[in-house]
Amino acid sequence: MSVLPFKRTLGVAQLTLFVFVLGLFPVLSHAQQATISGFVTDASDGQPLEGANILLESISGETVKGAAADQDGSYLIGGIPSGRHALTVSFIGYEVYRDTLELSEDEARTVNVGLAPDEEALEEVLVEAEGTAGAARVNAGHQEIRPRDLERIPSPDVAGDLASYLSTQPGVVSVGDRGGKVFIRGGEPSQNIVQLDGMPLYQPFHVLGFYSAFPSDIISNADIYAGGYGSQYGGALSSVIDVSTRTGNKKGFAGAVSASPFISTARLEGPLIKDRLSLIVSGRRSMLDHGASQYIDQPLLFSFSDVFAKLHSKPTEASRLWITGLKTYDRGTLGKGVEGSPAQEVRWENQAIGLHYLILPRWLPVKADLSISRSGLTSEFGPPEKPVRSSSINTTRLAVDATFPGESYEVAAGWTIDFVGLETHLGGMFQNIEEGSPPTLHQIAYYVAPEFRWGGFAVRPGVRMQFYNVRFDPYLEPRLRMSWDVGMHHFSAAGGLYQQEVVGLSDRRDAANVFTAWTNIPRREDDENKNDVRAGRLARAWHGIAGYRVRPNRWFELSVEGYYKELSNLFISEWTAFPRLTTRLQPATGHSYGAETRIELQADPFYGYINYGLSFTRYQARQASLQLWYGTEALDFRPPHDRRHQVNSLLGVTLYGFDLNLQWAFGSGRPFSRAIGFDGFVLVDDIENVANSPGNRRVIYEKPYNGILPAYHRLDVSLERTFVFDAAELTLQGSLINAYNRRNIFYLNVFTLQRADQLPLVPSIGLKLAFE
């Protein structure tokens, strides 16, 4: 470890002290005043009611304070003058709760509220939910997604899934209905932060692209940041998918089972101790081998499964404790191997378990969330019995997040400590490389992000201080998010610096390649790394986003957003004519920019949206041999996920109890590298009989990424009807995937010209039985 100059050490210490004091400021400012805090839940099942309004009025009727419950249903109102106050808690679709509170100086009181559903106003709940989320409701790259949004997307399953929804977003490029990779606004899958209840997940999308580890049945809400995310997130360059899960029913047992030719699911939830401890368990398993592949003219050599469980408890009135666990398994065969070798198979497994302790302490006006989690990914690639490549990443995370609410401001601050272990074996034609490190202290991060609000204007500056293993000095990452509401107009902007130390290496010659080798940036000073182009150079991105949204009436909403990402220190495999991925890396830079337009229409009984995304992504790679090969110092190319145009549209109508949804998607062709032909290569470096020199096969490529694959477009249709009985609901769904049987290419093996298409026309019938 290097010895720091005194001045620099002092500077870091001063900065740390400054941001810490900034975080404490709201705490200090609340001294000598009363505080109330608590949880707002649905009285019928104990679910948190995010967005519930809490108003505290002085007895004279003048409103003094207000707050909205967060995703855990928690709220906190500080700085309350002593005296008598009227408390009102309301949420559309629920009966209003009223109480009177006598608060003394310095008092901190816990007030938990259970709101009873108002059956007559139930429809309004849906309207409200659509108003806070919605297809066009984008705020500087941020979109909040609710289960209802997922269920609208036609898929061969009665329940919705986050993966199907993401594929309809204009800035999201997926390689099709299989593959398990998501590229967001020019970023690569390994550059996305994916979290489930705060636990990092590395490859949570299933091999069949309709599905992920996030079915709508277990989701409370999901925050998607396509860029410009705030200081609470770090360690990745591109985007954030932050999923929060539901808690199990604390009042009574409920569950659901569903079946379709693609997937079967089961969910069970209920109280283990009524009102105090609940459990929700969900499991899914693909049915392709016995289901869909039996009646479509195509083998579907995929299988996947996932199991999710959450134990949620109420240890005290002012705290919540929960444990979340997830396990996924995916296996898929991707065509034949090169030169008659056995079929190539990819497998991966995610495992994650985490514990959260959320507390609203009476002695401090703060909401604190303490968590510890352990998650990991193991992936393998190669012949089924003998994988030639494997890679694993395991992360143990300790995190403390705190929110200090104020009247016109709020400060979020927290610490995250990650211990990361990596192991990669790249055998066979991957040149027999072993690389790995035992779990080591990988990063310590501290962030503070105050939010200030003046009328319709809100600004959230932030700074994230990252101590990475790669060097002792902290990396400072400034961030900024802001929004301005003027009547029906909404303006937003976001930006910041983002860095990533754990990087995923994959073969960019092929966007459908689903294997990622995980590695980290080594320190510069290690002698053994002195020739490593990565040494000491963290991948880095600057984001800038500006957006405008308008909602002139209840049935129409339009948003327009532009973005720019500047990428540096990307390390990509050197270009090679060998028909395998080289592990020699070259530095690269890149940029991605584009614009997205979303229009959402809601006019009962119709619902619809249309999205258009225009995107430009380019990489510039610097390989020593480029001058020799192409007469240029840098190879400027469109990476295979650079999809120029993307259109997604949905039209839904509810008539006579039937929900009919039609979704049409279009994506222009992605770049790929065309070949001229194939021959062999022998290294002629001595005067000897060449029969004794080893020979390799070779691909004679045209200039890289000069070809464009055919455009992708598809129409999916679903028709659904729910029958309600006393204690159960039966939902029947019929769907047509790829209704006009478009041959959309998924994967083209340029070596063998073997082509794998996405799903053909697939009719499917599913049913779901839910009880409560």
Binding site: V338, E339, G340, E574, T576, A577, F578, P579, T582, R584, A624, S625, L628, W629, H645, F666, S668, G669, F672, R674, A675, I676, G677, F678, D679, G680, F681, V682, L683, V684, D685, D686, I687, E688, N689, V690, A691, S693, P694, G695, N696, R697, R698, V699, I700, E702, G707, L709, P710, A711, H713, R742, R743, I745, L748, V750, F751, T752, L753, R755
Partner: protein, 301 residues
């Protein structure tokens, strides 16, 4: 009016865009392999130091498919451009370590020093692939007497019009400890790649004995063979190199397969890919007088 014009331009643009989207969107097939007129890829070396010449021949194919143990169905001839003699080569099949089959054509003759050869491969319905390789003229190594001023140097001359020298190396045979020589003698190679100077009638290499002694000491230390009390006793010096034809010129003087694998890199094949070189090994051994050996730093007893 201007607004109408602007609107109509926009309308035309969007209609054109829609047309492009729809027409490109209807295409389902992919042209992934562009194909080429180039028929074969050749690798080999013509040398007077072997009584049989060998050249690997790969057909340029449109699929990367498993190889089969069958004839290439191609004719291979060589023409000695100096004498006009034409030879027909035979096809043979070898199996690589991974089980793949490769074709190696061969002809039982010894390439002549200073002669130029044209190799031609023709296949049914394929254009002919050609390559010409000039075997460098016969060459002699002359070692001059060492010179000593501040250090000890020795000039080695390669007499003959050799276009290029590759893998130039000076190998020192040294004894590194007392006792029987059989157990304590080792060879220490010192690279002289790129150190040869072209002069009238050939090349010159200045062997820096004093500097090489320092290198030898460090290399023996690195191998754990250096004994401070003994040093290194010099038994002999050998200069080794390859005299090769002009196109045998790897980028940067290095044989890096990741660089050379790119088609067109160090290639001299017409209407095809690959590389066929010509040349021979050169080697000369000597032992300088004890006076110079000791002055360079070595011991002589």
């Amino acid at each position: 009016m201007r607004l109408l014009l602007w609107l109509s331009e926009r309308t035309v643009f969007f209609l054109a865009l829609l047309f492009v989207l729809l027409t490109t969107g209807c295409e389902e097939d992919v042209t992934a392999i562009l194909g080429t007129e180039k028929a074969f890829t050749l690798y080999g070396v013509l040398t007077p130091q072997a009584d049989t010449q060998w050249v690997r021949v790969y057909p340029v194919e449109e699929r990367l498919e498993p190889t089969r143990a069958e004839s290439l169905n191609a004719s291979f001839t060589s023409t000695d451009l100096t004498t006009g003699q034409v030879k027909t080569w035979q096809d043979s099949l070898i199996q690589e370590e991974d089980g793949r089959y490769s074709h190696v054509f061969w002809a039982p003759f010894r390439a002549s020093y200073g002669h130029a050869y044209r190799l031609e491969v023709s296949g049914a319905d394929k254009a002919t692939t050609r390559v010409e390789a000039n075997v460098p003229p016969e060459t002699e190594i002359v070692v001059e007497e060492p010179r000593s001023l501040y250090d000890v140097r020795q000039l080695v001359k390669i007499q003959g019009k050799v276009p290029r020298l590759l893998k130039l190396m000076v190998v020192y045979e040294v004894k590194y400890k007392s006792g029987p020589s059989a157990q304590s003698v080792t060879e220490v190679p010192i690279s002289y790649e790129g150190k040869a100077s072209s002069v009238d009638g050939g090349w010159e290499i200045e062997v820096l004995l004093s500097r090489d002694y320092q290198d030898i000491r460090e290399k023996l230390k690195a191998r754990g063979l250096w004994q401070v009390g003994y040093g290194a006793r010099l038994f002999g010096i050998t200069a080794r190199m390859m005299a090769v034809n002009k196109p045998w010129n790897p980028p940067g003087g290095k044989f890096d397969p990741e660089v050379l694998v790119q088609p067109g890199t160090m290639s001299n094949v017409n209407n095809g890919f690959g590389f066929v070189g010509a040349g021979f090994h050169l080697e000369e051994s000597w032992l300088p007088d004890d006076e110079y050996v000791e002055k360079a730093g070595f011991r002589t007893d």
